[in-house]
């Protein structure tokens, strides 16, 4: 009996160890390089840029991937080796940051709203390191409620995107394209970085209705609340949420939240009628060839460029910590080309979008979002 117990204990320990190893197997992958990388680099450096993803991972064809590309491009140009760490869950954020700090990172890019508090903590503990936080202003203050637009820690550079402006254009386009008069959107979870898309989208549709005297309906977002899958996994819930929108006659879908658009793809395939998809963050036409037949356009966040610039600055030692806000004006956000839908959208809509874009930039058309209260 005793022997058996021991055997079992050993077995379980092995299981647990495998699980633990598998869980963080991808994290320390760059361990060796970080030691050599600094030594082998030429004059440029012992500068080590680092990046940590949120739970979506660097292969999300979306904002993690774009930021990662920005960091690697900057690292290449600086002639240094970047260290990347993927988070598998929100429990990984803190430990991953700690591990990067201990590996000697000088500038750490943290991707996503979800990492804001972990970033603030790490930034407070390591005031001599530089942090680039994407998608959050890090301005919660002591009470978590301040939101004054100023980062709580002086060594955090927030990179934000007023995606509502680009989503406004997408909403206008969707309203113009829709034949059923219903357009739909759904999100992963009601985070501000998610709802800003839905918000701008609805405003765009409303603007179209007002200008053209039409009555295109937005479902899945009513200005305050809407349809969410409850997570950012592409699974049957995502498919079914898209299906619910299609049931209500929507013929343009805007899924906001990493891979959940995959669910919309299968729902569209099953619908048996023509339904268009609007991508977010990256141009889906380029990043995911499976979408090419259905993607009307994509709402772009130019993360690659802004991350690249910030890391480059940090590498050259002159990182400017004032928050960067991507807008239509500075091309931080924008609308992707129509690609296959070039012939399907109305002839005038491209020009109208140009005018609206100009209107938003000069302020004659107002787009509200949580970034400008």
């Amino acid at each position: 009996m005793n022997r058996k117990t021991r055997a079992v204990a050993g077995g379980l320990a092995t299981l647990l160890a495998t699980a633990a190893l598998a869980a963080c197997g991808d994290a320390p992958e760059e361990d060796n390089d970080s030691g050599n990388g600094s030594g082998s680099g030429d004059s440029a450096s012992d500068f080590i840029p680092c990046i940590v993803s949120d739970a979506g991972g660097f292969d999300d064809k979306s904002f993690n991937q774009l930021s990662y590309e920005g960091v690697t491009q900057a690292a290449e140009e600086l002639g240094v080796e970047a260290i990347e760490v993927e988070s598998n869950s929100e429990n990984d954020y803190g430990p991953n940051l700690e591990s990067l700090v201990s590996q000697g990172c000088q500038a750490i890019v943290t991707v996503g709203f979800a990492l804001a508090s972990a970033t603030k903590e790490s930034a407070a503990a390591n005031p001599d390191l530089e942090y680039i936080l994407i998608d959050d202003a890090a301005d919660g203050g002591e009470d978590g409620e301040t939101f004054d637009g100023q980062p709580d820690q002086p060594n955090i550079k927030p990179i934000l995107y007023n995606t509502a402006e680009a989503a406004f254009l997408a909403g206008y386009l969707a309203a113009d394209y829709s034949k059923t008069g219903v357009v739909g959107t759904y999100g992963g979870q009601p985070f501000p970085t998610v709802t800003i898309f839905m918000d701008g989208f609805k405003q765009g549709v409303d603007y179209y209705n007002q200008e053209k005297g039409k009555n295109v309906k937005v479902i899945g977002w009513d200005g305050k609340d809407g349809a969410f899958t409850g997570g950012f996994e592409a699974n049957n819930v995502a498919t079914q949420t898209a299906q619910r929108l299609i049931d209500q006659d929507a013929d343009v879908l805007l899924p906001v939240g990493g891979p959940i658009y995959q669910g919309a793809l299968t729902a569209i395939e099953d619908a048996g009628r023509e339904i268009a998809l609007i991508g977010v963050d990256a141009d889906f036409y380029e990043t995911d060839p499976n979408t090419q037949d259905v993607v009307l356009t994509s709402i772009l966040k130019n993360m690659k460029v802004s991350t690249y610039e910030a890391v480059k600055q940090a590498g050259e030692g002159d990182l400017d910590f004032t928050p960067y806000v991507g807008t239509l004006e500075n091309d931080g956000v924008g609308l992707a080309p129509f690609h296959n839908f070039e012939g399907k959208v109305s002839d005038t809509v491209a020009d109208e979008l140009e005018q609206i874009k100009a209107g938003i930039i000069d302020g004659s058309i107002e787009v509200t979002s949580y970034l400008e209260q």
């Binding site: 598998a22 197997g25 299906q243 669910g263």
Partner: protein, 428 residues
């Protein structure tokens, strides 16, 4: 039949006796629901009409959409509910039980009333609502079948979630490599079986606490699949992570029945497989030699052993079969829902399946109904949040879980697991 006053019996005593006292639970619960819904209608009055759309665009027989004034309909149905509750009280006072069909009628009235109220000014696609319930329930049903078989044989299977996830992973991998959905399905069953082998070795041969083994297995599968996904599948997505999809097959004649046809008989092969699996398991568990032996080792392994049934071998077979079934459920994620694997894509469905097992009192049919209830509640949540509901979305997302918890805790009452559930069998 005897009337038992003792609320609990220890396992050492005789098997618990059947209670035939007419309980007041039915009328009390019906009354509470009636009053609750009336309060909801009073507090949140909605104007407008509600449309129930009964056909999809491509149905052969188009039923007209039914449009009703929201508040009037809701109140009328509340009156019907009150009448049923009153009837139930009358029956109870005469010491007669409330018949099941009456409860079913009440449930339908309550549901339609609630829908009429909640969707005022909007459209409820009935086919989508019911079809969505099935689509969301498929992995849960397979998982619950796996749980029922395992626990009836005396092995608690917490690792259902792990088996689903392993199934989803293997289905994506094998399906993409071979390019066949059926190969993917076989791979999924095999992956679920592999997880079950581990469960069996530790739980049956080494008598480890079955709950702990199950939890560890879940963590193991999450870790392993996430690791393999990011290292192997994601970089080679085109070759390894783009499986073909099962297409919906319409069953002739049956598929053309209004409402029921598109809901039940225009589905994918996986769903038809589910119908067959539930029917076969429900039959075999109670009517076959296999089922009798399986239940015997789960209720009283010593007695089974005495008459020559090999307890641990029977349990192994049951656990392996259960694992393969859960694996098939996992295949639904990657071969039907979304044709690619991604991290932790089951979203904890295995735990809901486990709840369905208990809610269903370890019976295949009832566990299936429990899984369908969860699927229905999830779809309802989806429909209401799309057409805009007065309830905040975070609360709406809790709806399916709240329904499940209430159903398990409130409506089912005391459910008795197989007597030797979770107890390893040691000879001698």
């Amino acid at each position: 039949m005897t009337i038992s006053a003792a609320p609990t019996t220890t396992p050492a005593e005789e098997a618990p006796t059947v209670v035939t006292v007419v309980s007041r639970k039915a009328p009390v619960v019906l009354s509470i629901f009636t009053v609750g819904l009336a309060l909801v209608l009073l507090l949140g009055s909605h104007d407008g009409d509600t449309t129930f759309r009964l056909s999809t665009r491509d149905d052969l027989f188009q039923l007209p959409a039914v449009t009703v004034p929201a508040m009037v309909t809701a109140w009328l149905l509340v009156v019907v509910m009150a009448a049923i509750a009153g009837w139930s009280w009358a029956l109870t006072l005469r010491e007669r039980p409330t018949p099941l069909w009456l409860v079913a009628l009440f449930t339908v009235a309550a549901l339609v009333s609630f829908l009429a109220w909640a969707a005022a000014g909007g459209t409820i696609p009935v086919v989508g609502l019911l079809g969505g319930a099935i689509a969301l329930a498929v992995p849960l049903v397979f998982g619950a079948m796996s749980g029922v078989i395992g626990e009836r044989a005396g092995v608690v299977n917490i690792a259902i979630d792990g088996q689903l996830l392993a199934g989803a992973f293997a289905a994506a991998l094998v399906g993409s490599m071979i390019g066949s959905t059926w190969a993917g399905l076989a791979g999924a069953a095999f992956a679920g079986l592999l997880v079950a082998v581990l469960l069996g070795v530790f739980a049956i041969s080494y008598h480890v606490d079955q709950v702990i083994v199950g939890v560890v297995l879940n963590v193991l599968v999450i870790g392993l699949t996430s690791f393999l996904f990011s290292q192997v599948l994601a970089p080679n997505a085109a070759e390894l992570n783009s499986p073909p999809r099962f297409k919906a097959i319409e069953i002739p004649l049956l598929g053309e029945i209004p409402v029921i046809g598109p809901v039940l008989f225009q589905q994918t092969a996986v769903v038809y497989l589910m119908y067959v699996a539930v029917a076969v398991i429900a039959w075999a568990l109670y009517r076959s030699r296999w089922g009798l032996r399986l239940r015997a080792v789960g209720e009283h392994p010593k007695a089974a052993d005495t008459v020559g049934i090999k307890v641990n071998r029977t349990r192994y077979r049951a656990v392996l079969l259960a694992g393969a079934i859960a694996g098939l459920g996992g295949a639904f994620y990657t071969l039907v829902s979304v044709p690619q694997f991604n991290r932790e894509m089951t979203g904890g469905a295995g735990y809901i399946a486990l709840a369905a097992v208990i809610f269903g009192k370890w019976d295949p049919i009832r566990a299936t109904l429990a899984a369908l209830l969860f699927g229905f509640a999830s779809t309802l949540q989806g429909v209401l949040s799309v057409i805009g509901s007065p309830v905040p979305s975070q609360f709406m997302l809790m709806l399916p879980y709240v329904v499940t918890v209430f159903a398990v805790a409130g409506l089912v009452g005391r459910s008795r697991p197989p007597a030797a559930d979770g107890v390893p069998y040691v000879k001698g």
